[in-house]
């Protein structure tokens, strides 16, 4: 069995992580986040001072986002091995993953819109900045479903040598639950549940990145196992 395509897709996940970090974090400088408590002129100043870097960073971030598509697809291929003929959870993962790409693509386009004409009214820049951050941090639902169905599929694996060990199921459900606090940011401008807060932003971000780091070697192992048994 040829597993080259699957390995390529798994490495796309690493590519996503690296390119997204470079564009969003190191070039555009969105970490730490712009505080939602800042005034319109302060927000506008950020875009006026970093215009070029934000434009470049967002182009890279936008590109990197779609690399999560092959990554989700290869996880789906492995889930399909568990589910067999009627892979409802696998399809759920694919649909949620596709929406996830949209959630990762749209905010960079809105951020870059704010940097497109940084001389415009500060209130308008703040509106775009708000929209991008809310869209980016608050939209946890596709990722929640994505992790939940992976967890459920892992639990349903009754094979002698399962595709993923069972603790991976619990881990994915734990990750799913941890993404929930992001949904609260609409209520707050300061504190741990604001979009720059420790519980709504930093913790889910850490867990989301950590999820890739944990899943990557497990995926390689599952692909290898498939290659040997086929």
């Amino acid at each position: 069995m040829n597993t080259k395509a699957q390995l390529f897709c798994a490495w796309c996940g690493v590519g996503f992580l690296v390119l997204f970090s470079i564009g969003w974090w190191f070039i555009a400088g969105y970490i730490p986040p712009i505080s939602p408590a800042l005034s319109a002129s302060e927000v506008a100043a950020f875009y006026q001072q970093n215009t070029g870097l934000i434009r470049l960073g967002m182009a890279i971030t936008m590109f990197s986002a779609a690399l999560s598509a092959p990554w989700v697809a290869v996880i789906a291929v492995q889930l399909k091995r568990i589910e067999g003929e009627f892979p409802a959870l696998t399809y759920s993962l694919l649909v949620a993953g596709a929406v996830g790409v949209v959630v990762l693509v749209v905010p960079p386009m809105v951020w870059t819109t704010a940097a497109f004409r940084p001389e415009r009214d500060a209130e308008l820049i703040m509106l775009l900045n708000d929209f991008a951050w809310l869209f980016f941090v608050m939209t946890f639902s596709p990722f929640f479903i994505q992790n939940l169905v992976i967890g459920l599929a892992v639990f349903s694996d009754k094979a002698e040598s399962p595709v993923f060990p069972r603790w991976v199921g619990y881990f994915n459900i734990w990750v799913a639950i941890l993404l929930i606090p992001g949904g609260l940011i609409t209520f707050f401008k300061t504190g741990p549940f604001a979009w720059d807060g420790v519980l709504a932003f930093w913790l889910p971000l850490l867990v989301f990145f950590g999820w890739f780091v944990v899943m990557f070697p497990l995926l390689l192992k599952a692909i290898k196992q498939q290659e040997q048994t086929a």
Binding site: R166, Y170, F171, L178, P181, F187, F188, F193, L199
Partner: protein, 211 residues
């Protein structure tokens, strides 16, 4: 040769006996410890922000009804005890009272839910919401997330109750094999429910009592 073999199996037996027993399947502890880690982070964040504004926090705390919190603590402690009794009963060959204990545990869980809903609606009617101040933000989010855990736990308890009922109906003495299979599921679910209880035991003094 024979002596050597039996010596070996005796060794295996001894090692098997001294091996520590982890309740339920090992994977559930990834979830439980992970979840407790998160609530631990919540509590540290709460203490930090409380330290920044102790007056607001103690004034707001005075507006909570400690009776509701105390009743709910009793509900959860009792339900945890019922679950423990049920687990003990499930270990035997003839299951007798486990379904009753699980039903009582569910009753206590439902009682917790009713009290919580009364408490929330009182607060909301008094105009106190998640945006009132920092204290009530934590109050709603922490108790809300805990309540979500209780709701999931109620589903788990229904599952355990069905398992126990099936075991109790099985009049023929259950084999060791069946008991062991059941116990993994029962202990996993029970461990989760104990965690729900434990989280509340920390939440209650943190929100309602701490001076």
């Amino acid at each position: 040769m024979n002596a050597k073999l039996s010596g070996e199996s005796a060794l295996v037996r001894t090692v098997g006996h001294t091996k520590a027993h982890v309740p339920g399947e090992v994977g559930i502890w990834v979830f439980i410890l992970g979840d407790m880690l998160i609530f631990g982070a919540f509590f540290i964040v709460f203490m930090y922000y409380r330290g920044l504004n102790p007056e607001l926090f103690s004034q707001s705390q005075a507006m909570l009804n400690q009776n509701y919190g105390a009743i709910n603590t009793l509900f959860l402690l009792a339900s945890s005890w019922f679950v423990a009794m049920a687990v003990e009963d499930m270990r035997s060959k003839q299951v007798r009272l486990a379904p009753v204990f699980f039903a009582l545990a569910m009753f206590c869980g439902a009682g917790f839910g009713v009290v919580k809903i009364i408490e929330y609606s009182e607060k909301i009617n008094a105009g106190i919401t998640i945006t009132t101040n920092d204290f009530f933000m934590y109050y709603y989010i922490f108790t809300g997330l805990h309540f979500l855990h209780v709701l999931i736990g109620m589903g788990v308890l229904v599952f355990l109750w069905l398992k126990a009922r099936a075991a109790a109906k099985n009049k023929i003495a259950r084999t060791d094999d069946v008991i062991e299979k059941d116990m993994v599921l029962i202990e996993s679910g029970a461990s989760y429910w104990h965690m729900v209880d434990l989280l509340w035991i920390v939440l209650f003094p943190l929100l309602y009592l701490m001076k």
